[in-house]
């Protein structure tokens, strides 16, 4: 079972790297889904099946699809791949990696002290649910407002886009 964790981890890593380095937006999104699914597996292995399900349903299912819609709308097809290649010269990786790689190594070093094991206990949807609508009730309300704010904002931005589009037509 542990090996499953590592396989998922490697899959997640690899697909994520492909997301970040990809040139074709649609492909990158597919890789992102792969990465998210791998993480979902890990969630499952960590004893969080509810989180794993949400990861698949909401993240991979809803958010990434939203991305895909926009990619379609903006026609980020083959033509943009060439442009991406032009924008993504290899030398551009140097400066960012100069920071992120040491950061990664430093973090890994700092976190790998005496080992801590995870509990290995499953926290099921029921527990989560009781917590969520118990003590976290206010937070859930807030999350709702958060989504409302996003809704209003996106509505405003998107409506204008649509109306402007119509004018153009």
């Amino acid at each position: 079972m542990e090996s499953l964790f590592y396989i998922a981890a490697v899959t997640a890593l690899a697909s994520t790297v492909l997301v970040v380095t990809g040139k074709n937006a649609s492909h990158a999104l597919i890789y992102l889904i792969v990465s998210l699914l791998s993480v979902a597996v890990i969630f499952f292995l960590l004893g969080a099946p509810f989180a794993a399900a949400l990861e698949v349903v909401v993240y991979a299912g809803a958010i990434v699809v939203l991305f895909l819609f926009v990619v379609m709308m903006l026609n980020l097809g083959k033509g943009s791949v060439a442009r991406e290649s032009a924008w993504l010269r290899p030398s551009m990786w140097i400066l960012p990696c100069l920071l992120t790689v040491p950061l990664f190594l430093g973090l890994v070093y700092a976190l790998s002290g005496e080992p801590i094991q995870t509990a290995g206990a499953m926290v099921g949807p029921k527990t989560v649910g009781t917590q969520l609508f118990g003590p976290y009730l206010l937070a859930v309300e807030l999350a709702g407002i958060l989504l409302l704010a996003a809704l209003v904002g996106a509505y405003h931005l998107g409506r204008r886009y649509m109306s402007e589009r119509r004018e153009e037509m």
Partner: protein
């Protein structure tokens, strides 16, 4: 039915950190705003992973709950962000973040 594994926490966290750093690198490197947003999603996902892992350490639901808030957050952010992307592509005729560079000292 307990599939939960007892694995070293730092291994999960190394994965989370790796995802986080990859995402960060993506933000630092990519010029196409879509990819930048994807990188942000990666980073956010890394946070979710970290929370779930931390929750797993204590066998508490709080980690997962935080993960759910992160989901909500990601969704909200993506919604607004994509709205902005649409406007960007219209007003700047480009998704290149460097082209949106009219303000500087």
């Amino acid at each position: 039915m307990n599939f939960a594994l007892s694995i070293p926490l730092e291994h999960v966290f190394v994965l989370a950190v790796a995802l986080f750093c990859i995402g960060l690198t993506g933000v630092l490197v990519r010029r196409n705003v879509m990819f930048v947003l994807m990188s942000l999603e990666v980073m956010m996902n890394a946070c979710g992973l970290a929370f779930v892992a931390a929750g797993a350490r204590w066998a508490q639901a709080d980690g997962q709950i935080m993960f759910m808030f992160i989901l909500a957050l990601a969704a909200a952010e993506v919604a607004v962000a994509l709205g902005i992307v649409l406007q960007l592509s219209r007003r700047f005729d480009s998704l290149d973040v460097d082209s949106a560079n009219e303000m500087h000292s």
